[in-house]
């Protein structure tokens, strides 16, 4: 929330760092934000797929046929690269963002948090891929 009255401290005008947007560490930062476009698009594509599933067999078959188009395949391959990039960067960042204490408890050591995130990611990916791919159920 904004303060109720302006503070007394004078602030300098923001200055864009000279390495922004693709120099030094800013490249990964900018790319991390730019994955937002792919997430937004793939969310709407997934919405189309779910909508087609609810529209009956003919609509579902047509949707699957469209997903085989090379543009869709290339888009999904790019999204997979983005998703892996986001996961790796976020899983490295997440342990550093933990508070020093959570109530009476201290959070686990950073490497342990990171290992748990990777384990959860691998477990969810393997489990759901098996279910979707017909290996389970």
């Amino acid at each position: 929330m904004a303060p109720s009255k302006p503070g007394r401290t004078r602030t300098a005008a923001p200055v864009r760092p000279h390495q922004f947007p693709f120099g030094g560490r800013y490249a990964a930062y900018t790319l991390f934000d730019a994955t937002g476009l792919l997430y937004l698009l793939v969310g709407f594509v997934a919405l189309r797929v779910v909508w087609a599933l609810g529209s009956g067999q003919a609509a579902w078959q047509e949707m699957l046929r469209q997903l085989g188009h090379p543009l869709y395949v290339a888009f999904h391959a790019l999204c997979l690269v983005a998703v892996v990039f986001v996961a790796v960067r976020f899983f490295r960042l997440f342990p550093k963002a933990q508070p020093p204490r959570i109530g009476p408890l201290k959070p686990p050591p950073r490497p342990l948090i990171q290992a748990m995130l990777y384990a959860a990611w691998l477990a969810v990916t393997a489990g759901l891929a098996l279910v979707l791919g017909g290996g389970l159920f």
């Binding site: 997430y39 937004l40 969310g43 699957l64 869709y72 395949v73 997979l80 892996v84 017909g134």
Partner: protein
């Protein structure tokens, strides 16, 4: 508008954070199987036969997962694109950009709820 965005910030950050964490975890198998595996013939097409896909998607857990798969990445996308817009264009247009992007995420989220209800 700016005050409203500030008030909504905790909710937006919750959805954005879950979009990164849960959205990424759900998108990975979705992209591997639905986006690439079946179209490229690496996974048998029968895995996504209509009856099987509908049975998987229409049970309560399936609906919940599909809702998360669709809605959460929209919020991650909207918030990161807003951040990118501020970084490149400054804050003068932030309210309009945020309204547009969060509006898209809200519309998509409601559509996702409708999509999983009609399964």
């Amino acid at each position: 508008m700016h005050r409203l965005l500030l008030r909504l910030e905790p909710l937006v950050w919750l959805l954005f954070g879950q979009g990164i964490l849960i959205g990424t975890m759900l998108l990975t198998p979705w992209l591997l199987v639905v986006g690439l595996g079946v179209p490229l013939g690496l996974v048998p097409a029968e895995a996504l036969a209509y009856d099987r896909a509908h049975a998987l998607g229409s049970n309560p857990l399936g609906r919940l997962l599909l809702l998360g798969l669709v809605a959460l990445p929209l919020w991650k996308g909207a918030h990161h694109l807003r951040s990118l817009s501020v970084d490149f264009g400054g804050g003068s247009r932030d309210a309009a950009v945020a309204a547009l992007l969060y509006g898209l995420a809200i519309l998509g989220s409601f559509a996702a709820v409708a999509a999983v209800i009609r399964l």
